[in-house]
Assembly symmetry: C2
Homo-oligomer: 290 residues x 2
Amino acid sequence: MSIVLSRDSRVRVMENTVTNAEKYFGQLCSLLAAYTRRTARLRDKADQLVKQLTDFANTENPELRATMRNFAEDLAKVQDYRHAEVERLETKVVSPLKLYGAHIKQTRAEIKKFKQVQKNEIKQLEKLEKLRQKSPLDRQMISQAETSVQRASADASRTTHQLEEVINTFQKQKLKDLQKIFSDFVTIEMVFHAKAVEVYSSAFQILESYDLERDLEDFRAKMHGVCGHYNARPLKDTMPSPAVSWALTGQSTQATIRSQRRDEEEDSTEHSAEEDPVQDLRGQGQAPQQ
Amino acid sequence: MSIVLSRDSRVRVMENTVTNAEKYFGQLCSLLAAYTRRTARLRDKADQLVKQLTDFANTENPELRATMRNFAEDLAKVQDYRHAEVERLETKVVSPLKLYGAHIKQTRAEIKKFKQVQKNEIKQLEKLEKLRQKSPLDRQMISQAETSVQRASADASRTTHQLEEVINTFQKQKLKDLQKIFSDFVTIEMVFHAKAVEVYSSAFQILESYDLERDLEDFRAKMHGVCGHYNARPLKDTMPSPAVSWALTGQSTQATIRSQRRDEEEDSTEHSAEEDPVQDLRGQGQAPQQ
């Protein structure tokens, strides 16, 4: 009977391995999917910020306009990298964890199969025990029952061995996959953060090189320009026509990584910028120079 | 009358400057506050992931347990940096933008004051025009009205000058603040991303150095240990008692940057780990070696 109990304990370890994997892989999958979704939402909010900064830039003087547009461009680049991060997390982290459901189901079926074989062994053992107590002298019946027990034990032993193989393979695959999935997670995050550092370094330079005094000069010229004092430096040099500036800084010429998602949003940006009343006002200020 | 019209246009430029600032600073403030909130939510989700990974680690064999705990530690560190990012964004980006509301209100009041002076000038001019049409020969009345117009014009001219000063200062401050706020935004983001790269590099090393074979050996030993085959390498070397391992890897000894927020969560992690049935099972497997 002790060998049956030890086999039972062994199977319990195996069952625990699978149950544990099911529980934690399920939870990790949900959490990592939620983490990915929240990253996507952060990207969406930053996309709105990019749009707003571009709108704002279009209402400002050339100096600040260029600075804000370039800064918005860089912020958009970071979101493109964040978008790539989201897609990679879905493909390389969330999806493989999702696949575990099926894998675990299959292993559970193997365990169930073994448990039936094990039940039979116990049944045969109990039958033999009863016989020994009720008819201890019926040698033939006892011998028959002993043969049945031996056969059932051999069955159980073989199946335990097979199950051990299955669980070993399962565990090995699990450990391999864990290492792979989390290494991928770390790599994806690392690449994103490294790219973000790179882009923000450029954005910092853009903001640092912003010439506030020149911008103020333009502002004063604009205030006075409206009432006929055109002694300020010509604005034309730094203020291309709206059509030209859109072509030059248009976000559609950006990295191929950029998705349809943002291009659609840009159309509306352009549209609203063209309708902006302040743009018209600036147009008035410029008119006398033409 | 043309000087009045030009003054009117000038004030319209000034008004537009303030209206524009009000509109865009308000929107940028909301968006940046939302961006900060979503960053905080991403931090919270990652905190849950850290907790789950620690729970999971506690149900695994020593090798994977150590790897997962160290990995969770690093993931927690990134969240600490993200938490610092959130707090800095609130202090250095969202708060200064919020303060603009009061600043703009004050400037609006200055404009309103001027407009009343301007209204008076127009009133006096209209009075003079009417007089000239109705009683073109009443020299005395016309002369009086002309004096009133001159006085009102002088008033308007002086106030316009004052207003220009106010708007100039407003614009200069606005441009300075914009540059400062977005430079701070970029710096905060840059610091966070750089720290994240650093920590994830270490996390990658942790996952790379994970010894899968050793872990599988332990797993096989555990399966056999339960049924009395104690020929595997002793587990004691790599499996300190729960109390010791908590002291060694306990997250409370971590960087000071870590806030109360996570420490509270850790208590529950510890608690659930102690109650885990798989921990008891492992205890059984170890017993014969003591």
